[in-house]
Subunit: 283 residues, 3 copies
């Protein structure tokens, strides 16, 4: 086998997720949960409530399978069929939360870049797997395909709503703020998952007709590139400009401008009328 572009792309589609990529996923989930908890309370949550810390980390680690089970009406019990995954994620949780130095090590900028790269590979595999799984059951329903791919891509962020509830981290809304979650403040990964899932759906229905392994590998490459730029602080969320433009036009700006025009028009008419009236008076 010679190492041309296509064979490298092909190789990217044949990776095994377990154990390396899944372990990276568990590490990032444990880091996320620890960060979320430590920003919410002023004490060491994992020392005072180890069980809640473990349960919520497990929820995040298995968010994908849990939501897919609910979505496809399968028993939640099948998630627990692989005890080695639970054992490994427990080990990861333990190391991240209790072994001194591990958290500092893993949040090192360069190691984060490495972890995040592996995670993006796992995410794209998840989204593609979701679209494939849905297409076997509901082939002709494209919304179902899109949604399952999307859920597989961003499950842990959706699950965070419930993880916060179980961890007792409940914020109250006020007149000016809401209790934050991913639907209120969609992260970059939330939007990227939606885009990638949409792309694989288009590919499934043959609207995109490029070599599958090239598309797959390029998606991974773009995601890794974006995330590393974000970690290094070169760019913020790359979707924000498009989003702001879209929101400004569709959710407000367009109609505000329209209202302004209508009002000015009316005022103008009134003013003209007034002028006309005055003219008539003076003449």
């Amino acid at each position: 086998m010679d190492w041309n572009f296509y064979s490298i792309c092909e190789a990217f589609t044949l990776l095994q997720m377990w154990p390396v990529f899944d372990v990276v996923h568990y590490i990032l989930m444990a880091l996320n949960m620890k960060r979320e908890l430590s920003t919410s309370v002023a004490f060491a949550f994992e020392r005072r409530h180890p069980l809640a810390s473990w349960i919520t980390t497990m929820l995040l680690c298995n968010a994908g399978p849990i939501l897919v089970c609910l979505y496809l009406g399968k028993p939640l019990a099948i998630i627990l069929k692989s005890p080695e995954k639970i054992a490994v994620s427990t080990l990861v949780w333990y190391a991240v939360n209790y072994v001194p130095g591990v958290f500092t090590l893993l949040t090192n900028r360069w190691i984060t870049c490495l972890l995040v790269s592996a995670k993006e590979v796992q995410r794209v595999y998840g989204v593609y797997g979701g679209v494939q799984e849905a297409s076997q059951l509901y082939s002709s329903y494209y919304v179902v395909l899109f949604t399952l791919g999307f859920i597989r891509g961003t499950a842990s962020e959706i699950m965070m709503v419930f993880a916060r509830l179980l961890a007792g981290i409940i914020k109250v809304h006020t007149a000016q703020t809401v209790s934050p979650n991913v639907f209120l403040f969609p992260s970059c990964l939330f939007k990227a998952s939606a885009l990638v899932s949409a792309m694989f759906c288009l590919e499934h229905y043959s609207y995109i007709q490029v070599n599958h392994s090239v598309l797959f590998s390029c998606t991974i490459a773009v995601l890794i590139y974006l995330r590393i730029l974000m970690i290094l602080g070169v760019i913020a969320d790359p979707f924000v400009p498009f989003e702001n433009l879209f929101c400004a036009i569709v959710f407000g700006g367009m109609w505000d401008a329209y209202k302004l025009v209508v009002r000015q028009d009316r005022k103008g008419t009134q003013a003209n009328g007034a002028v006309h009236h005055q003219k008539m008076k003076t003449s």
Copy 2:
């Protein structure tokens, strides 16, 4: 076909829900969610968090199918089989939230009367459909039939608990108040759904033996009549008098009266005893 009473009733049982009645349902759900959000926060929620506004409106619009799926153990994916419904409800959501004038137009008293009338037709169809669906699966279990009919009638109000959670609208309880939801403050429609579902269950088991189409049409007529009276401010919740009576007797009053009697009786006995004692002393 001559237009006598029976044929009109018959016609009422043969309506197609899609598209007119379902669109009305979507409009009312979008209005409900917008009202709920705008009474909770002081800023324009739908401008700052369009995604959360859309997701929660979709949850309300599809509350019936979602709860039925959970209740009957079906996959949630089947809700997404009809993309045209999602497209239409998204359009409705967009119009209600962003197009200026639409909200004002739709909350006009007379248009509300019209919308609510169509919604009550849709509600009665929902309840009847729920009872029918349950009777095919669990014919001999009347509680299952009642519950499914009831859920179909009032799903959006139950789903509001979760919609508020996802929208980050979380109130905290105090010593004197609780975070409100439909179970704490059951609305008129909540109670009406229960009654209508109970009635169709009784009909299913042949305890009510009137012409089905007459029963069906009269239920719709009564509900529309009540809702329009409520909108015009002629009556408040028509269940309140019965409810107050029932609660006063069963949940408190009866036992308070009993306790009072027992206490007075005891006091009386003591007083008698004291008098007797005094008498014995003086004698």
Copy 3:
């Protein structure tokens, strides 16, 4: 049949849960919910919100079946197949909340001992039933067996999270406190359910090879003994000493000691180095 030890143990494994033990379960759930609500708000919750009080009590009474349905992917509707159970639990709820004297009577220390004894019998039956049910479906997956047994043992405590949500009893977290639930502050029964479920799993895989009825009866006896000692105030949570030891070693203490040693070692080396340096200077 002569009354030796084995025959008594055997008799303990052949009890019928319905109606006596289930009714005791309902009584304890109604008491729990009433206590939870009355400690949260300063007014008589069950008088102002009878529906929410009833719904949440029903949720707790049927927490086991509800969570098992979700776990095994069964329709929730099958819980409502037995109207007599709902009727009885409603009666129990009514008596506990409204009939004067009943609450005082049932919270009498000696009657509590009696009720709790019956409840522990019901709990052990539940856990064993859960392990058996799971073993028929997922025989080779020991985590599934353990989890189902555990869920059946402690379902009402998990369900309390959602019952509080539906009752509008939502506490907010602060920098120093979290909104409490069973995962944050695991009760004695939570831990006992885990232990008992683990034990029955070990027995299922023949790692424990004693007579089943002896094991079963002894488990019940030990649980009853512990609970009665707890009620009489002789002991607090019997797991706390082991837990404290375990937590101190595994979740913190071990690593704190290690860090201390490393730091002292480093300081020592530095100090030595400094002394050596000084020595070199003076010499």
